[in-house]
Amino acid sequence: MIRVALADDHTMFREGLVSLLSQGNHVAVVAQANNGKELLDLLLDTPADVLILDIEMPEMDGFDTIQKIKELSIDLKILVLTMHSTPQFIKNIFKAGADGYLPKDVGKTTLLEAIDRVHQTGSYHSPETMKIVMDNLKEGTISTGISPREKEIIRLIADGYTTQEIAEKLYLSKHTVESHRKNILLKLGLKNSAGLVKYAIHRGLIY
């Protein structure tokens, strides 16, 4: 028997879930909570093997609950069941320390399978989830680096062009060029354009 704890602030959904899980013969719902706080209280007296956790809850949400469980070293597997299904959420759910993720509209079979898997292997990743996470990792669209435009401006500054000249050359306003210049200095941790020239030479941006 796998002991399952539920944390969801929607009673109707929780009850539906309980009825759904009761159809599986090896699963027993041992605790039901409206939010993280209630859950943590219950878990003190009632040990569970798997936690089915919602993210959006009042008082203490899913993320905080995971963090608290980790802090308290409560031994149980966490399966997040949420309406959120964007890559950002899935990524963050795993980042927070969840052992599995399922969207709320998941079917009974998948849910029971996920409980089994997380209990036996310690984690559950559906193929869809895996794909989303992998896609997200591949496409490194968030960069803390220098944009092509910024590189262009670094070169021009290093070549000795003034802000006005750069603006004319790139069909930009002085204001925009100045904004770029400040952003570049910020990113490179430099104080002035002279440092920028040194950097450019060092990095082989100019010869």
């Binding site: 602030d9 539906g16 509209d105 669209t141 803390t144 680096g145």
Partner: protein, 633 residues
């Protein structure tokens, strides 16, 4: 005693007025009542004095006095000179010789403003006054000065008058050759310029001179010519005098009947025109004539008449002479008592004349002193008044300044209060708007969460339940499948709506993940989007996050809808004091698509201003658009 009446041209001013003159006076008076200007008023008063002098000496005096009061104020020097000259004339007529000299002195003080004619008059009047005071040398000196002015200004008419006056003075000095010389010169000039009156007068005077030189024939001739001229001029006064003088001439010649004839003629003429002065003279001369002939009764009668008129005229010399003559006649006619009486009267009058003249001198001095004192008083008063006026004006100016100052302060205070009130009102309104916006955000947040979790969850549950039902059935029920499909679709819609209302990523993870999710959605399009961030690990103020997210959403939407770009770069850099957001595309630029600067940009502008940030948009046709925003942290 011979009575000589020489003619002065001055007398011309005292000729009787004609009706035309009266009209002129009236019109002058009316004009005077209308003018406000001092200069004009003084001029009019002076003109009225001149016109009225012969007829109404009192009112003439009044006008002159008024004119004089103006000289205390700012009058032109020319006018002041004229008024002073008029005062000289007035005092000469009144026989106040010391006053004459006083005003002559005053007039000569403004000599250069007098004008040659007036200057000649002043010198002439000075000479005449000296003449009356028997100071003949001084008189001639004064007349000579007048002559000089005439010569230098080539005024022959004036010269004629001056020569006449000099001649008269020589007559008094009994320097007959000199008298004749000047009188002849005067006559010639009068003749040259056909001044008939002048000719008549000089001829009259030449008559006197000729008589004294023993040229009786010439004298008579001169008188007759004079009379002819005077007759033409209707000057009966002059004629009366000439008759009187002719009488004296014939008396001298011993022709008593002719003398009597002319005396009587003179008397009649004088009586006809009411010239009492000539009457006394003629009566006195008649008395003399009768006395010589031993006709005491008519002699006494004539003397008495002359005496009566002389007394009336206060002509003391004639009164005195009449008393003396009467004393003589009474003595000779055997009335010693009456003779003694008249002798006493004579002595009394003689003394009185001396005393009177003495007293007159003194009183004249006193009057002069008084008038000067009065003038000074008036001057002092006017100065005081000026000072008071100035003080009043100063006070008024100070009050004005003060009230202007007060007004200014009040306005400034009022404006300040209004500005402060407006500022408070604006701040309140801003706070209200901010509160409304915050409430709206919170509300959206709540609605989004409810939609997403509560309704979304219920839908998911319903779908699951239906799926269970479907799985438990042997054959697939199409209705159930459709319902599952519909529920699935609805759940997706709800999730999308909730996300639009308030993206969960923004609330849970912050700006960068939220932007990332937004850009994630672009993967299906041909637009390649890159996000560059720096120092954005820590979350910023949720309100700013929402605004910035909406700005980026708006900008991205704009690029998708209008820019026709294939590259989109968003850069988000947190500086020490501000956050820099740049949204850059390589599309067609905003200039070529006016609609882009529509609602989307307006929304961005309004959000930037709510964040108190700055917005700059660079857009060149064919070279894309860069929206650069800086938000203070």
């Amino acid at each position: 005693m011979r009575v000589l009446i020489p003619y002065f041209f001055l007398v011309m001013a005292m000729l009787p007025l004609q009706s035309q003159e009266k009209e002129a006076i009236d019109s002058l008076r009316i004009t005077l009542s209308l003018v406000k200007n001092q200069e004009d008023a003084a001029t009019l008063n002076l003109a009225l004095y001149k016109r009225l002098m012969g007829v109404h000496s009192d009112s003439a005096q009044l006008h002159l006095d008024r004119a004089v009061t103006f000289t205390k104020k700012d009058l032109s020097s020319t006018l002041t000179g004229k008024i002073i000259a008029a005062q000289v004339e007035r005092h000469l007529i009144a026989n106040n010789y010391d006053s004459v000299f006083h005003y002559v002195h005053k007039a000569l003080g403004v000599k250069k403003h007098l004008g040659p004619k007036l200057l000649i008059d002043v010198y002439s009047m000075q000479g005449t006054a000296h003449y009356y005071k028997s100071e003949y040398a001084k008189a001639i000196a004064a007349h000579r000065r007048a002559e000089k002015v005439c010569t230098s200004n080539n005024l022959e008419g004036g010269m004629a008058k001056v020569f006449n006056n000099i001649g008269i003075t020589y007559i008094k000095m009994e320097n007959w050759p000199k008298a004749k010389e000047f009188m002849t010169k005067s006559f010639d000039l009068c003749k040259k310029h056909t001044i008939e009156r002048g000719m008549a007068f000089t001829l009259g005077n030449l008559g006197i001179i000729n008589k004294h030189q023993g040229d009786f024939k010439e004298a008579i001739e001169a008188y007759e010519r004079s009379n002819k001229l005077l007759d033409n001029l209707n000057d009966e006064r002059g004629m009366a005098r000439n008759y009187d003088n002719l009488g004296a001439l014939y008396e001298e010649l011993g022709n008593h009947s002719f003398a009597q004839y002319y005396y009587l003629k003179s008397l009649n003429a004088a009586q006809a025109i009411g010239d009492e002065s000539t009457m006394t003279s003629a009566l006195h001369n008649l008395g003399n004539l009768y006395a010589k002939q031993g006709d005491f009764a008519p002699s006494i009668a004539n003397y008495e008449k002359s005496l009566a008129i002389a007394e009336k005229l206060d002509n003391r010399d004639v009164v005195r002479d009449n008393h003396l003559r009467l004393a003589n006649v009474y003595e000779r006619s055997g009335s010693p008592l009456l003779a003694l009486q008249h002798q006493k009267s004579y002595t009394a009058w003689k003394d009185s004349i001396i005393n009177q003249e003495h007293l007159k001198d003194i009183s004249e001095l006193e009057i002069k002193y008084e008038s000067e004192k009065k003038e000074n008083d008036i001057l002092l008063l006017s100065q005081q008044k000026l000072r008071t006026d100035a003080k009043l004006a100063q006070q008024r100016a100070r009050i004005r300044r003060l009230s202007y100052g007060l007004l200014g302060v009040t306005i400034i205070l009022g404006a300040g209060i209004m500005i402060i009130m407006q500022y408070h009102k604006n701040r309140k309104q801003r706070q209200l708007i901010e509160t409304i916006a915050e409430t709206q955000i919170a509300e959206r947040h709540r609605i989004a969460r409810d939609l997403h979790d509560s309704i979304g969850g219920s839908l998911a549950l319903a779908k699951n339940t239906l799926q269970c039902v479907s799985e438990n059935q042997d054959e697939k029920n199409k209705n159930i499948q459709d319902s599952i499909q519909a529920l699935s679709q609805t759940a997706n819609d709800v999730r999308r709506i909730a996300h639009n209302l308030m993206p969960g990523e923004l609330v849970k993870f912050g700006l960068v993940p939220a932007i990332h999710t937004t850009l994630e959605g672009l993967k299906k399009t041909s637009l390649e989007a890159d996000l560059y961030t720096f120092n954005m690990e820590e979350r910023i103020n949720p309100n700013k996050e929402i605004h910035l997210f909406r700005i980026i959403q708006e900008a991205v939407q704009n690029v998708i809808k209008h820019a026709q770009a294939d590259q989109l770069n968003i850069s988000l850099n947190k500086h020490r004091k501000y956050l820099s957001l740049m949204v850059e595309d390589n599309g067609i630029g905003m200039d070529s698509d006016k609609t882009r600067s529509g609602m989307g940009i307006e929304n961005i502008k309004s959000r930037v201003s709510q964040l108190k940030g700055t917005l700059n948009i660079d857009s060149v046709t064919g070279r894309g658009t860069i929206i650069s925003i800086q938000i203070p942290m």
